[in-house]
């Protein structure tokens, strides 16, 4: 099980041979420094860096890269060493194009793993701005045992400042030597094979780790997760990781080709009913034909988990099948272009019909390869479509579309489901196949329903007024889903609607009285709600840091909190903006989440101040939009929001039940 650390948090280490994996959105330099009991670096020989990549018990990479793997052997440390700091720095501006500040790149992610790749602890270094060097983690000795602490201390002055701060006398010289080594390394590095993105695009997204505790042992792949270019303005590491994020829960176990052996059954044979039901397996297929798909044909301890893994397996299979098809077509095209160009430049073939024949042959070769690729794609798509046809009706409400009969049979649940469907994903090659986009619960980050300009993929035009209404309706549909899948009283919704413009779309919520209070209006309402939630975050954090979660006041509402903010930044003063940023940073770890319904342009006046806020949220759109990438090959997937079918009363019915359960729960 992986520990997801926040700044300042520590975690014990039971192994001494470790690997530190670093994923950043841009090439970074990784180094490791040894410190004594006061944290002081005694000399240059206490630092492993690209110019001197190996030191006793330490090994770092020779060059800047988006992904790093540092090897650490704590047993090899001398008695004098009490601390091993893991340092990251952006390459010096002279060594090539690249960002000069961490604020301009996706938040780097560092993980401590065992040699088998199992993740022990992970930490996303958020909140960096002008810094160009950062102490990411430190491994330190405490009473004979080693622990890891998330540090995240940045330095605007780069490595020189960082090393000076750690007491190294030759800090400036060493920083210079590192720059030189990195520049040399860049000059030396071999180009990756063509037609694949560079390593920098393959970095694991910062928030990707640790989502699936059950599959925590899955070796982190240096997984792709590139955000497609179509995704404007947002740095890598933004919404693209939505799917990706949860993907890690599924990748290991979700491979449908793996036999669905099921867990070991320890129960007494006479007490059969307490054992998990055996997973359904596909009936044997007639020879030469693929097996007929069955819902739940994946590993897991429950039907829910099996379906979750199966959906993720389908997601990966579709991504990879499409990748195979696209790469074959790309190759066929580039080969044809080359052959046509050769035919054109060869003087012999210019005479008479010879060049026509050459061109004809080139086109025929192209058509043949594309035809073969299409055949394979169609075969795979037919299989996936058949699987989707059996899986979709079998999904529980939390995974199901609003039009699924499962919602008509809705009952307030007793347990939190493992994930929630936030919408559908599809690819242009497979228009019929909709992959449910399942996000793990509890939420790890807030949501941003973008009411700004959209370039809908279907070319339809939506004016800005309609867009706002649609965005708010989408927000309400998401909020209703969250409320419905949590047990009564375990999820609370607050609404800030400063100008009252969201009144109509909010009606399904307000009419049933599900939110904690009527939507807050005006500047005073904004201040009051934000003040209350800020105080709550402070209180819970203090209790957690003090190691006394029981010390919360009696009657304290421990449910998850969702704050819907409409029309941001309308009604927000500077203090309120700061409180909102604080909630975005600190809220998720204590169960307070944001759902911003906003057009980013409208808060452009705040400048880069709000960039981290937007970055920390998962962007969803009220209309189909291709801004989400999968974690394997980084296709641009078209996201469709989970809207209620027109004329359907399902939202009202479900919320009425939620409200009733809430009333009887609070009595």
């Amino acid at each position: 099980m992986t520990a997801e650390l926040v700044r300042g948090q520590n975690h014990p280490l039971s192994q001494s041979r470790l690997e530190i994996r670093v994923s950043a959105g841009a090439p970074v330099v990784a180094a490791a420094a040894l410190g004594d009991e006061n944290g002081r670096i005694h000399g240059v020989e206490w630092v492993a860096h690209p110019g001197a990549p190996t030191r006793p018990g330490l090994e770092v990479s020779r060059q800047a890269a988006a992904d790093h793997r540092l090897a650490v052997d704590l047993d090899a440390m001398t008695e004098a060493v009490h601390r091993v700091s893991v340092l990251l720095a952006l390459p010096a501006p002279g060594s090539g194009p690249g960002p000069a500040r961490f604020g301009a790149v996706a938040a780097p992610f560092v993980a401590v793993t065992g040699l088998d790749g199992s993740e022990i602890a992970g930490y996303t270094i958020t909140g960096l701005e002008t810094e160009s060097a950062v102490v990411a983690l430190e491994l330190y000795r405490r009473q004979g045992a080693w622990k890891v602490r998330a540090v995240g201390q940045g330095y605007a002055g780069g490595l020189a400042d960082l090393l000076t701060d750690q007491g190294l006398p030759e800090a400036v010289q060493l920083a210079g030597a590192v720059d030189e080594a990195v520049t040399r390394g860049l000059a030396r590095s071999v180009q990756a094979p063509p037609s694949r993105p560079a390593d920098g695009d393959r970095s694991r997204q910062p928030a990707a780790p640790a989502v699936g505790p059950e599959q925590g042992g899955t070796a982190p792949q240096g997984a792709p997760g590139s955000v497609p270019p179509s995704y404007g303005g947002q740095p890598a590491g933004g919404p693209g990781q939505a799917g990706p994020q949860s993907a890690y829960g599924g990748t290991g176990a979700a491979d449908p080709s793996a036999t669905a052996g099921g867990p070991i059954d320890y129960s007494h044979p006479g007490r059969r009913n307490s054992a998990p039901p055996p997973p359904p397996t596909a009936p044997p297929a007639p020879p030469g034909q693929p097996a007929r798909p069955v819902a739940g044909d994946a590993t897991g301890w429950s039907m829910e988990e099996r379906l979750y893994n199966q959906v993720w397996g389908m997601f990966e299979d579709l991504a990879r099948t499409a990748a195979a098809y696209r790469s074959a077509v790309d190759f066929a095209e580039s080969r044809m272009d080359k052959e046509l160009e050769q035919a054109l430049s060869d003087p012999r073939s210019r005479i008479g019909g010879q060049s026509d024949a050459v061109r004809e042959a080139a086109r025929a070769r192209h058509a043949q390869l594309v035809g073969q690729a299409r055949e394979v794609l169609d075969r795979d798509l037919a299989q996936l479509a058949a699987e989707a046809d059996v899986v979709e009706p079998a999904l529980p409400p939390a995974f199901a579309r609003w039009d699924n009969p499962a919602w008509h049979a809705y009952r307030v649940p007793m347990e939190i489901p493992m994930a929630l469907r936030l919408g559908d994903l599809r690819l242009p090659e497979a228009d019929r196949i909709r992959i449910p986009m399942l996000l793990r619960l509890p939420l790890e980050r807030g949501l941003w329903i973008d009411s700004g300009r959209a370039d809908p993929v279907d070319g339809s035009f939506t004016d800005s007024h309609d867009m706002r209404r649609l965005a708010m309706e989408t927000a309400v549909a998401h909020a209703a889903r969250l409320l419905a899948v949590y047990p009564a009283g375990e999820f609370t919704v607050h609404v800030i609607d400063p100008a009252g413009s969201g009144e109509q779309p909010l009606a399904p919520l307000t009419r049933t009285g599900v939110p904690a209070a009527p939507p807050a209006r005006g500047a005073a309402g904004v201040a009051e709600v934000l003040g209350r939630l800020t105080q709550r975050v402070d209180l819970v954090q203090m209790a957690l840091r003090g190691g006394a979660p029981d010390a919360l006041p009696p009657g304290f509402d421990t449910s998850q909190q969702l704050l819907i903010v409409n029309d941001f930044p309308h009604g927000f003063d500077d203090r309120a903006v700061n409180q909102l940023r604080y909630l975005a940073d600190e809220g998720p770890s204590v169960g307070v989440h944001l759902m911003m319904v906003a057009d980013r342009e409208e808060s452009a006046g705040y400048g880069p101040l709000l960039d981290p806020l937007w970055r920390s949220l998962l962007r969803l759109t009220p209309v189909p939009d291709d801004h989400l990438a999968d974690p394997w090959v980084g296709h641009a997937w078209t996201y469709e929001p989970p809207l209620v079918p027109p004329g359907s009363q399902i939202l009202h019915q479900v919320l009425t039940q939620v409200a009733a359960a809430r009333r009887s729960w609070s009595r």
Partner: protein, 188 residues
């Protein structure tokens, strides 16, 4: 199999081979002298390069464990080797039926990432296995194999409707597959 020998991956019953595995195993070097902490770790890496018309289009290695199309999978990096029981410490699995249609050759390589030559490595071997029945198709002993840090093991390539495997065993030098590209191109 011996060097240069080619075998068709058609099975005797007419069906063609659908999955192959390249396995790599080695033993961590023994500790030297009194100082137990001074182990000499050896990190060998297995890689597979996918070619279409002699152009590399995808690579499966420890930083990219699955080819984009999902047909070639690396079981994960092992940095220190096994204890020499003869099992595979790293393996690359190829699902031949899922390899994209334009990929016509896959070349398997082994590199010494930590820079020791195969002379210094103990009990190192690599082998090619028919994954469907576990039958070993080829095996090379790397240990004592000369002052090289890499070997281009074998290639599987399309022939007719099926695949053929050719054992290569060419020695080379390099830390990762990228260093080997010049040595790979002549064998395509």
């Amino acid at each position: 199999m011996t060097k240069g020998q080619a075998i068709s991956l058609q099975k005797n019953d007419g069906g063609s081979l659908t999955a192959v595995r390249m396995g790599l195993g080695w033993q961590a070097a023994p500790r030297r002298g009194l100082f137990g902490s001074r182990t000499r770790e050896i990190d060998l890496d297995a890689s597979a390069v996918l070619f279409a018309d002699k152009q590399p289009v995808d690579v499966v290695f420890f930083r990219h464990l699955v080819s984009d199309d999902g047909s070639v999978r690396h079981t994960g990096d092992n940095l220190v080797g096994g204890v020499g029981q003869g099992g595979d410490d790293e393996a690359i699995l190829v699902d031949l039926s899922r390899v994209p249609v334009h990929i016509d050759q896959i070349v398997f390589t082994v590199n010494s990432f930590t820079g020791q030559t195969f002379q210094e490595v103990q009990n190192a071997f690599c082998r090619l296995v028919d994954e469907t029945n576990g039958q070993e198709l080829a095996r090379y002993t790397l240990a004592g194999g000369g002052a090289y840090t890499a070997q281009i093991m074998a290639k599987v390539h399309r022939s007719g409707t099926g695949w053929t495997m050719t054992a290569l065993g060419n020695p080379a030098n390099g830390r990762t597959f990228q260093d080997l590209m010049p040595a790979i191109l002549p064998v395509l």
